[in-house]
Symmetry: D2
Subunit: 348 residues, 4 copies
């Protein structure tokens, strides 16, 4: 796409060799008014994109360079798709006139002690941490529009909050008894070398991980849901790795009237482009959102009175990270919020 | 294996062309004292096993015949791996001196009205229904030893009960708040022609089904857990289809002390060959039981006090059906209970 | 996308409930100047798209209707994504001023006796059969521009011809010794109810099918390659079903100089947007074209002198059928050829 | 299984933490007269098997120890499942009265210069290299019976030779034109940390590797087929990685009469327990041998006269490595050759 016009915003992507980086490139290529000027990474510096991601070989893109060699003078927006801990160091050193969307965990938690609790290290940019806007687009739209630094949410935290925020806000569920059971695609773990991420170890089976309150995304649930409720909320979260590459399916168990819950969600998202509430009693599939920025949510009554099951799905690499990032970028630069994000899911 | 000795029991398998039928053949072939004399099925009658199941082509087996042409006079044991509704008709007409293990749903529920409620038709063999012993081996061992008709359990019902029966029996959990979230392999749906079971529809994604109290295996949970508790118990059950062929992973959410729960399960299964309780805090994977008769159970404390997550796995076609059936057959014929069932899982 | 302008061409899709139909909808939705006015199908008539294909539920689309109830008076272009045999009947009855792209096998072969040989029935629209243009875009561009009826190619025939046509045309390979070994994704078989397409039968394994000269796409190879060569050519083709939903990987064994072959392919496709020739010695992956209209081709020298292996990949549902169809539609209506087709592959 | 009898042979497994090591444990556990006395490995030394391979947690096995701490005085047989290069060092230092089955590549090639050519390093045990018997059981039975050191074959080399050896030996095919196109399960690459073996990189797609005469198993083909033919033979071999964990499907293209080929294979394997020749025109599936020691071979005539396609399948971890090793061990110790190896495949 020829984007050489005055409306075009120049973009740098730091961490271009991971899955969220690749997805940013793919999505931004389809956007009319963002143009990729810089790709950066540490280990892959000096390589072209056809070597790192052959599926992007048809694109004309800059060679991947070292982060500390970037000339930011012409850059309007910087996406950081670096690992947490690394990200805070890099972001701290970026020019202060630059708009930044960080996809790591480093700026999601506003409280330094919470960060230390969940990530095991002290936060070194506590000022930026306080300044950062939590990037759950539909709930922080105004703040994001005027933000300089937006923190992309955890993918599991995103799907859970899409279900729970309106229900907590409207007090239609019992706040003391919330269980989230998540089935997660393996790309959520990134392009990390780990025995447990090998095909031979993962395909044809399923297992739970981070059981019992250990999942780091719980920090986001604690912070955000407590703020919505105006009181401390603690949810239960169990994540499972299943043999699919993309997608999260969240099955959420709450106490509350299914019709009221369905109505609350329907009203909350009535104007949203990307969030679809299914008719009461229907349930979604990750197949139906894969490769897209959509969220599908289904509400079902249990046979036991006043118990409700809510199932939601999204693509962790799009609505759960890179698509969310681009949606936020649209807000930050006055673009149409859906620009570059309306592609349909890939099925089958 | 040459089995032509006096100790050998002659076996007929009805419904040999389904997955549980194939699995019965495979397992019985490895058993010293059972010998397959008859294979029967409707649609595949007249075919040899190499045509129906090429993976069994190395075995010398009888041609598949029509059920009504079987000479039962030399048969000691009949496995029925037929669909429910069909099974009750066939079983009713079998000779009364024959021992029978039925793998369908037809004799799991002792109450005719419960059967009608869950399966939508009237039961036509209510006497047999009352006579049948529920085939969850570890809990009905004595009854099975002397039974004529044993009803194999639902695979989902089996995994759930392995977790819950000792906990309900020992009253270490809150009986009013039990949630089972199951991730199920697709072979549980059988070799059925259905669009939603196609590879292109199932692989690379996940979805929930029978949400909200509609899953038929709930009839078994209601019957069995209520009996153990001496009071009516209703659990929540949500099943999910994920892209794996074999295995069920059950994540169960209960209220109760994790250590007490772990101890209760450890004690309950201390003498059992096939049920392994992992150290507290560890979680199992379906990978680790695939192709075997084992059940692995892990108990984890939640960060919220007095909430416990229990994860259990089994192979739905073995411990969840055909392996369970053979284990029960061993009991019914005075064989060593583990005979033919000690093979290790296939990994990776 | 709002498409209510004078430039918009009105489109009907017949056979909207199959995979190629769904893919047409997805692709056309992203096209600036085609607008879907009619969706039709037999079994699903009366249903909305959210029921038939929930992944398209965010689109505003007409209800699926019966084919014989369509008002074609405002339609500019009709895509037929019906099964072969059905398609020829439907196409014969369409208004003669309508442009048609047929995705079935019915108009690929120009010779009625060849059609009968490969498809086992007499062709009932032999005039149309002769009129139809073979839709392999890069080689029939001029004819397609002025065509009324374009016949989409077989997906396997497409990938093989992308490798072989320039090599046959330039006589850089031995025409008497050509072997194509194809690894095919399961969506190529469509949304058909067949035991052998079940997840449990296909995942975790691989098998060959239509071995030894029985694959129907050989009719296309025979017709097209013989025409290019000016002499009768017969290739060997073996297709394999492997556990992936989308994609074909073709490994082609030829006798000829690898450098000359690489140069011939590089020259042939130098100006093409969708066909990428990798550097000599590199090989492509279906992962790198999935969800896109691209073809990647790699040429490798064998250790045996003058033997060359060529590997090519494409997405069978896009470049192998629906994307090809849209590319041809662009030509037929004077649109930019790449419009609506430049999306990058979905990876991972 | 209680194996404490005088007939029991004491076994050590070196390299117990890889896939072939795990498979040896699984298979030997089911064998009446071999007993595992020692498990050894480097990185996992000090760990129990439940930690390294939870699917084997039900077995009573020794703790994994360092290789140099093993007391070999009571060991009868040592399986080496170590990486090549490492293996030759370890095997050289083993006691000379010990029988050894090496599963690495280190002793497959009898010619030191060939080893250096294919593996890139000088061989440091050239005496042992010459002494070692090539472990393709059906063709080296007598030599294996009296061997001290047996070299397990490459899994790809095994499947290819099962097809080609009888055909080369009987001169029913053209020796100058042999193409092997292999579709390989990912466990063949072992439990190696490599980006390209991650689930997200491998599942849902396919690619070729080691194209053009680079695959190391070609050294075995060259050595063995040339010896059978009494003249130098060079085959073409292309291997592909597809998303399945176990299994190799080999499609072999030869010039020769299909009936003669089918007859030659049928005669050659008539007495073999593990090798099944399908009726002419039928083709096998990896599904039908997975988890077993069987090989299925199908022969099909091409439509082109005198061209034949032969398809063979085996489980790379069993007949391609650990099952082959146990079969050879049976020969070396005078056990029944099929002991411990007659389990049926796991399907689905």
């Amino acid at each position: 796409m020829d984007k050489s016009n005055e409306m075009t915003h120049k973009v740098a992507i730091l961490g271009a060799s991971g899955y969220t980086g690749a997805e940013l490139i793919r999505l931004i290529d389809g956007h009319s008014n963002f143009d990729i000027s810089v790709l950066a990474g540490e280990r892959k510096a000096g390589q072209d994109i056809a070597t790192v991601f052959p599926h992007l070989r048809h694109l004309e893109l800059p060679i991947i360079q070292q982060i500390d060699e970037i000339d930011f003078s012409t850059i309007d927006l910087c996406f950081c798709a670096l690992p947490h801990k690394t990200s805070q160091k890099v972001v701290t050193n970026l020019p202060h006139n630059l708009k930044i969307i960080d996809l790591s965990a480093d700026f999601r938690l506003r409280d330094a002690s919470e960060y230390q609790k969940w990530y095991g290290i002290e936060h070194h940019s506590q000022d930026l941490q306080k300044e950062a806007i939590y990037g759950l687009t539909e709930f922080y739209r105004n703040e994001i529009m005027s933000a300089r630094l937006v923190a992309g949410t955890g993918c599991n935290a995103a799907v859970g909050q899409y279900i729970l925020r309106p229900l907590v806000d409207q007090s239609v569920i019992d706040l003391s008894d919330i269980i989230l059971d998540l089935k997660c695609g393996v790309s959520g773990a990134g392009r990390t070398l780990s025995t447990q991420l090998l095909h031979a170890e993962l395909s044809e089976g399923a297992h739970a991980y981070a059981v019992g309150g250990n999942h780091r995304h719980l920090g986001e649930f604690d912070q955000e849901l407590s703020q919505v409720a105006g009181q401390s909320i603690r949810v239960q979260l169990t994540t499972h790795l299943i043999p699919m590459n993309r997608g999260i399916l969240a099955t959420v168990y709450v106490i509350g009237d299914p019709k009221a819950i369905h109505k609350t969600l329907s009203c909350a998202y009535e104007q949203e482009h990307f969030i679809e509430i299914l008719p009461l009693g229907e349930t979604p599939s990750t197949h139906h959102v894969r490769g897209s920025n959509f969220v599908h949510i289904g509400v079902s009554a249990d046979r036991i009175s006043n118990k409700t099951i809510i199932v939601a799905v999204l693509d962790n690499l799009i609505k759960g990270s890179s698509g969310q990032a681009l949606q936020n970028a649209n807000l930050m630069f006055g673009e149409v919020e859906t620009e570059g994000l309306m592609m349909s899911p890939l099925y089958p």
